[in-house]
């Protein structure tokens, strides 16, 4: 059987109350017993003394009739079971009663009489202060303790009854109280904790008490939150590790063909005549793309390490323009493209290639989201808001369902057949490396907007 804490506390309380009551009961019983015994003793002593006084006359003059009437009187008194009167010579003058009962007390007193002092004129002049007593006999009384025992027994019984009743009532009261105050909240805490332990980290423990148990519930909830965050981070990190594994392998494979392509382009640039102006332009585009690609590969290779930014003075509007221009024009087919770039945007220290990559990825995603949509509108904006520079990419695409929105930045999260699900993940890393962040707002069927926030002020200060 499982003993819970409430039971333990109740048990302890009952133990305490019982011990206390038993001790108090024991002492009061003993006190009462003593008081009764003292009273009994006093009464008996007074009785035997007054009896001795009464017996002076009959013992002195050997009046047996008087003695037997005195004796009969005494024996009729409560508790007196035996009475014996002897004279000084030891002769029994009166004897009656039962002597050998188990519980009794014996009391004796000397019977004495006053005699005149040896000075004879005392008889005439009065005795003055000189008094002389002579022993003339002895009285023995035996008193039974049965009555006292009966009384003590009934007192004992009453005490036991009262104490047990008290213990029961107190225990019941304490049990109820503790069950209500302590037991229920603890039980609830236990069931709630069990629910959480079954994996439901979103569960919130609701506790109405404001005592320690309430605080415990609050602390528990806080712990749950922290656990959830850590767990999410852990999952991300796990995913990341996997990504790094795959990506670094892939990059390694890609790097060699890229080397071939870039050396091929180098040769082509030398060989191809410049009759057709499109050729060198295309070659240049290819060369740029390849170099960007190799950079990207490098990044991928360094995915696990912190990104090393090549900081330079960057004009954000330029970066946006270059990024869009680098995307193939076929991509924007049927798209109503709009650029609203603010003039007041300061130069910042940043890695232009990385930022370009961010813009490219966001624009690509936007266009892809509008593939099956009529009325494709794409807007790229740059503006200054306070100390921040804000780059936003909005589209009128299919939008992102609410439940997915939190995981769009996760690596390998994709809804596309040919997608890798790495685009936004890389964007997030780059922006975070710049000390900024990316936000998403989206409504299914209406469109999506990605906003990149970059710090403008800090760079200014660095310039100074």
């Amino acid at each position: 059987m499982r003993i819970n804490i409430t039971h333990k506390i109740i048990f302890l309380f009952i133990l305490l109350i019982s011990t206390l009551s038993i001790i108090i009961g024991f002492f009061s019983f003993n006190y009462g017993k003593q008081a009764l015994m003292i009273e009994f003793d006093d009464r008996a002593k007074a009785l035997v003394k007054s009896l001795a006084l009464n017996c002076e006359y009959p013992v002195l003059f050997d009046n047996k009739d008087m003695l037997s009437s005195i004796g009969a009187n005494v024996l009729s008194l409560k508790d007196v079971i035996f009475c014996e009167i002897r004279n000084e010579k030891g002769q029994v003058l009166f004897k009656k009663g039962i002597k050998n009962k188990p519980y009794n007390h014996e009391y004796t007193a000397v019977i004495q009489t006053e005699k005149v002092n040896d000075v004879e004129e005392g008889l005439v002049l009065g005795n003055g202060q000189i008094r002389k007593f002579e022993k003339i006999g002895r009285i023995q009384l035996i008193l039974s303790l049965d009555n006292i025992r009966d009384r003590l027994l009934s007192i004992q019984r009453a005490l036991i009854l009262i104490i047990s009743l008290g213990i029961i009532v107190a225990s019941m009261a304490i049990t109820l109280l503790l069950r209500f105050v302590l037991g229920n909240p603890i039980d609830k805490l236990v069931t709630d904790t069990r629910i959480v332990s079954m994996g439901n980290l979103d569960y919130k423990i609701v506790m109405n008490t404001k005592d320690e148990i309430g605080s415990l519930a609050i602390a528990f909830n806080e712990m749950l939150n922290a656990l959830k965050i850590t767990q999410n981070k852990l999952i991300k990190t796990e995913k990341m590790t996997a990504v790094v594994q795959i990506v670094s392998e892939a990059a390694h494979e890609i790097r060699n063909p890229l080397m071939v392509i870039s050396s091929g382009i180098y040769l082509l640039k030398k060989v191809i005549c410049e009759e057709n102006p499109i050729v060198p332009k295309t070659i240049k585009q290819i060369e740029d793309a390849v170099s960007r690609m190799s950079l990207f590969i490098e990044d991928l290779l360094h995915f696990s390490r912190p990104i090393e930014l090549k900081m330079d003075k960057v004009k954000i509007n330029e970066v946006i323009k270059v990024a869009i221009s680098e995307l193939s024009e076929g991509l924007f087919f049927g798209v109503d493209m709009k650029q609203e770039l603010a003039d007041n945007i300061p130069e910042i220290l940043a890695d232009s290639n990385r930022l370009k990559q961010v813009v490219v990825n966001l624009v690509k995603n936007a266009v892809e989201a509008m593939k099956e949509v009529v009325g494709k509108k794409l807007e790229v904006r740059s503006e200054k808001e306070g100390n921040f520079i804000k780059i936003s990419v909005s589209d009128t695409g299919k939008g992102i369902p609410a439940e997915e929105i939190a995981s769009v930045f996760d690596p390998f999260h994709t809804t596309k057949k040919k997608g890798m699900g790495l685009g936004l993940s890389i964007c997030n890393r780059f922006v975070e490396a710049h000390g900024g962040r990316i936000e998403v707002e989206s409504e299914v069927g209406k469109g999506t907007r990605f906003v990149v926030w970059l710090a403008g002020e800090t760079i200014k200060e660095e310039e100074k």
Binding site: T113, N117, E121, L125, Q129
Partner: protein
């Protein structure tokens, strides 16, 4: 005329001178006093003793001893050292101590019951015992129906009882006496004589009489309707019909007169011991009523103390 005045003046001067001479005669006399105990009666007697000397113009220088507090041997030693012209003993204890121990010093004694104790060449004094004749006379006058007088005694008082019996017979009374050994026997002794007596005369016998036996006697007297004649007013108060008392202060004076004689040079041997010269009696009217005795108011008036009124 001037001659006569001269004579008167001369007489006056001689009177004055004479008066002065008596004053000169007031010399200091040393007396040692030994009290047996602190009993009130002893002090009364001592007061009377003192009073007598003062009245007679003798200035007493007293060294007082009290056997209740003082060690008997030191008392003897100090008296021997002081060598007073007379030692005054109050009570039997003091007398018994001084007897034979103080040599030639005369001892004057009072407050002793037994006349036989006052024996010896240098001892004399006043006893406490009231003469039987006085008591019998009172009985004759006031208890006229009385014919038989009861007595209970022990070996201690055998002699005294013999004397009393003689006196009674002389006065025409029959004596019913019973000898017993101790006070406890008073019950059967009384049973034996109660029906044959009209009046019971107590004798100062410490062997027979103690509070419980006295109580028994007095109760029995009430029951059997005989008049008990007690030893002092205490007994009357306790339930005796009548008791005779002496005036303790007067005993003191009486003794002082005897002491004066000794101081003036008389030998104690020449001065016989005396009985108290002044006696009173006390009555218990309640007891009188119970045992059916009518007492005339004159007698009641005469009594020094009346109880049970």
């Amino acid at each position: 005329m001037p001659k006569k005045i001269c004579q008167i003046i001369c007489l006056f001067i001689t009177l004055l001178l004479f008066h002065n001479m008596t004053c000169f005669a007031l010399e200091k006399t040393t007396v040692s006093v030994v009290f047996s105990s602190d009993m009130e009666a002893y002090h009364q007697a001592w007061e009377g003793f003192n009073e007598f000397f003062k009245k007679n113009g003798v200035n007493l220088s007293v060294s007082t001893y009290n056997l209740a507090n003082d060690d008997p041997e030191t008392v003897i030693l100090r008296i021997k050292k002081e060598k007073p012209p007379i030692v005054f003993a109050l009570g039997t204890r003091a007398l018994k101590l001084l007897k034979m121990r103080v040599g030639e010093i005369p001892i004057i004694v009072c407050m002793v019951i037994n006349q036989d104790e006052i024996n010896g060449a240098n001892i004399t004094g006043v006893t406490l015992s009231i003469p039987t004749m006085i008591k019998l006379q009172w009985i004759n006058e006031n208890l006229s129906q009385t014919k038989r007088i009861g007595l209970i005694y022990s070996i201690e008082t055998a002699e005294l009882v013999a004397k009393i019996s003689q006196d009674c017979k002389k006065s025409g009374y029959e004596v019913v006496a019973q000898k017993i050994n101790s006070g406890e026997e008073i019950t059967w002794a009384l049973q034996k004589i109660a029906s044959r007596i009209d009046c019971f005369l107590m004798v100062p016998d410490a062997r027979i009489y103690f509070p419980k036996s006295i109580e028994y006697l007095l109760m029995e007297g009430l029951k059997r309707k005989f008049a008990v004649i007690g030893l002092s007013s205490f007994y009357t108060k306790a339930g005796a019909f009548v008791s005779f008392d002496c005036d303790y202060q007067d005993i003191g004076r009486q003794t002082a007169a005897m002491a004066m004689k000794i101081l003036n040079g008389q030998s104690p041997t020449d001065i016989p011991s005396e009985s108290p010269r002044k006696t009173t009696f006390s009555l218990n009217l309640l007891v009188a009523e119970k045992i059916g005795i009518k007492i005339p108011p004159v007698v009641i008036k005469e009594a020094k103390e009346v109880f049970g009124r």
